[in-house]
């Protein structure tokens, strides 16, 4: 079997360029990167397409692929295969149990315009910051409407979690609230929970309904 080295290089660079273009065009980059680093996807798409164009214009010597370079190109294909293999992968209960450090993102979002806009991040910030709680009208008894993933279930409660990303998935931190409810959602299921915040910053759910995964499953910095 004869493998042309130039063709192999072009194929790998082209595949990566295609992944960046697809991530850019579909907005799926939020699956991997936070809001602060989103710019890398269009930047990467443009520079990779440029590199591909330059490589295409290069000389055609038709040299054979050497084993060392072949293994290197193979390694570069592994993340591409991974992205294709689990296109709808998301962080869930397993990641929450392994990635939880008990620390909190250094972020202070703008107060939500209405109670409907309150996210799990707002609740967690309000829990730590009395001034934020005051200006955003989030306090014990406030009715909230939260969407998250179920990461733990107990006898009469479950944990509702959203992950917060700063740079990329590597630094994702789970933000979790305990929901008191007799509903029995499954672990790793997306649910919408409506009810008042309790004295201990939990949530007493009136309604728990299953929902589809949101288009932006992770919370990230947003100027709102």
């Amino acid at each position: 079997m004869r493998i042309d080295a130039r063709l192999a290089r072009l194929t790998v660079i082209g595949s990566w360029a295609a992944l960046f273009v697809v991530l850019w065009a579909t907005g799926a980059s939020s699956r991997y990167l936070g809001a602060r680093t989103q710019w890398l996807v269009p930047f990467g798409a443009v520079t990779l397409v440029g590199a591909l164009a330059l490589a295409l214009r290069g000389p055609r010597h038709g040299a054979r692929l050497r084993a060392g370079e072949g293994i290197g190109l193979l390694l570069l294909c592994v993340p591409l295969v991974g992205a294709l293999l689990v296109p709808h992968a998301e962080l869930g209960a397993y990641a929450a149990s392994h990635k939880s450090t008990g620390f909190f993102p250094a972020v202070k979002p703008k107060p939500p315009a209405t109670p409907r806009d309150v996210t799990l991040l707002d609740v967690k910030v309000a829990q730590r910051d009395d001034f934020y709680a005051l200006v955003s009208h989030i306090h014990r008894g406030t009715r909230v409407d939260l969407v998250g993933i179920v990461t733990h279930t107990g006898a009469d409660s479950f944990s509702l979690t959203r992950f917060y990303i700063t740079c990329c998935i590597a630094d994702a931190q789970p933000l979790t609230i305990v929901v008191r409810s007799r509903a029995r959602p499954q672990v790793d299921e997306w649910v919408r929970v409506v009810g008042p915040l309790t004295r201990d910053w939990g949530l007493a759910a009136d309604h728990v309904t299953r929902v589809a995964k949101p288009s932006q499953p992770y919370l990230s910095f947003s100027p709102r």
């Binding site: 680093t37 050497r66 060392g68 370079e69 592994v78 295969v81 689990v86 740079c167 910095f221």
Partner: protein
């Protein structure tokens, strides 16, 4: 005649091996899907973390490869020879100053340093540039300033971070530079290395594969090792600094945005946060693999051996000064 036959046989075997390896990769993917192993939460977490680190790092690798290719093609041998003749006492500060003007992440400076070394620049200066630029460039300083709320506090943290990083970079350059040597072309064929495109693709692909390996290592650490133990050591001096050095190693974050992560580690004091900010861009998991693939003689271990104590001690001292 016999030698030619042997050569042909070797080539065919290696090409076959590459083809078989690609086939096995595809087969493995199909098997994972067929047996629903791709639905395993651990595998999904591993894949997500690995792909996200590679997606974040590759554009910077490409920028580094572009600069490296430009140095190779557009700067004459005579120009490099002139620089190489300068005494170390001149090259070192120039490298440190130059690093302030190269706004690229940690992965991007490795191909540039490799090119500088290959063209005769003193190893001490090339390493100082490679290690300092990812921390002290204007974009990183600005992101650090913003992450810590701006104002005087932001300036203090950004200044402390760049100061400790410069000291660490120069220390590594001086202590490790004397022993550094480059590996070969790294497997990437430079058949067309006389062209800009040849240099660009060669550097990009040979660095990229080490980024994949490093990202896989970081993803494995994050998937297997629970991070909950961290909170218990947050208040213990030295241990807290070392803990965040270990976290910086495992997370392998981009230096342009890791300040926002550091600022969220509020349970730790300023010293550990600074250690996290300084150490990560010097020698995290993905860089360790990248260094090992680029330089010989246990270079990565030597960098870690100097970077970790300098980052820890420097951060503790800086934290005492700025409180």
């Amino acid at each position: 005649m016999a030698a030619a036959t042997q050569s042909l046989r070797t080539r065919t075997v290696t090409e076959d091996a590459v083809g078989i390896a690609f086939g096995l990769l595809a087969l493995g993917a199909v098997a994972l899907h067929a047996f629903h192993l791709d639905e395993s939460p651990a595998l999904q977490t591993f894949m997500l973390v690995m792909v996200s680190i590679v997606v974040e790092a590759l554009p910077f690798i490409l920028v580094g490869a572009l600069v490296s290719a430009a140095l190779a093609v557009f700067v004459s041998e005579r120009g490099f020879a002139r620089v190489a003749r300068l005494p170390l006492a001149v090259q070192l500060p120039c490298a440190a100053l130059g690093s302030f003007a190269f706004p690229v992440c940690d992965c991007g400076t490795v191909p540039v340093a490799r090119r500088l070394l290959a063209r005769g620049v003193r190893p001490q200066a090339a390493l100082t540039f490679m290690l300092a630029a990812p921390v002290v460039n204007p974009l990183v300083l600005a992101s650090t300033f913003v992450a810590y709320g701006g104002g005087r506090r932001g300036l203090e943290i950004a200044g402390a971070r760049s100061g400790i990083a410069l000291v660490a970079a120069i220390a590594i350059g001086v202590l490790v530079g004397g022993t550094v040597s480059l590996r070969g072309s790294g497997g990437a064929s430079h058949d067309h290395a006389d062209t800009f495109a040849g240099h660009l693709t060669g550097d990009f692909l040979s660095m990229g594969r080490f980024i994949v390996l490093g990202a896989a290592l970081a993803a494995l650490l994050q998937t297997v090792v629970p991070q909950s133990a961290l909170a218990r050591v947050a208040g213990t001096p030295v241990v807290a600094e070392l803990a965040l050095v270990a976290v910086a190693f495992a997370l392998s974050l981009c230096s342009q945005a890791n300040a926002f992560v550091a600022a969220s580690l509020g349970a730790f004091g300023l010293g550990p946060q600074l250690a996290f900010l300084v150490y990560g861009p010097l020698a995290d998991a993905k860089l360790t693999v990248l260094y090992s693939g680029t330089f010989r003689r246990l270079f990565a271990l030597r960098v870690i051996a100097v970077a970790a104590p300098v980052a820890v001690v420097g951060s503790m001292l800086a934290a005492r000064v700025i409180g």
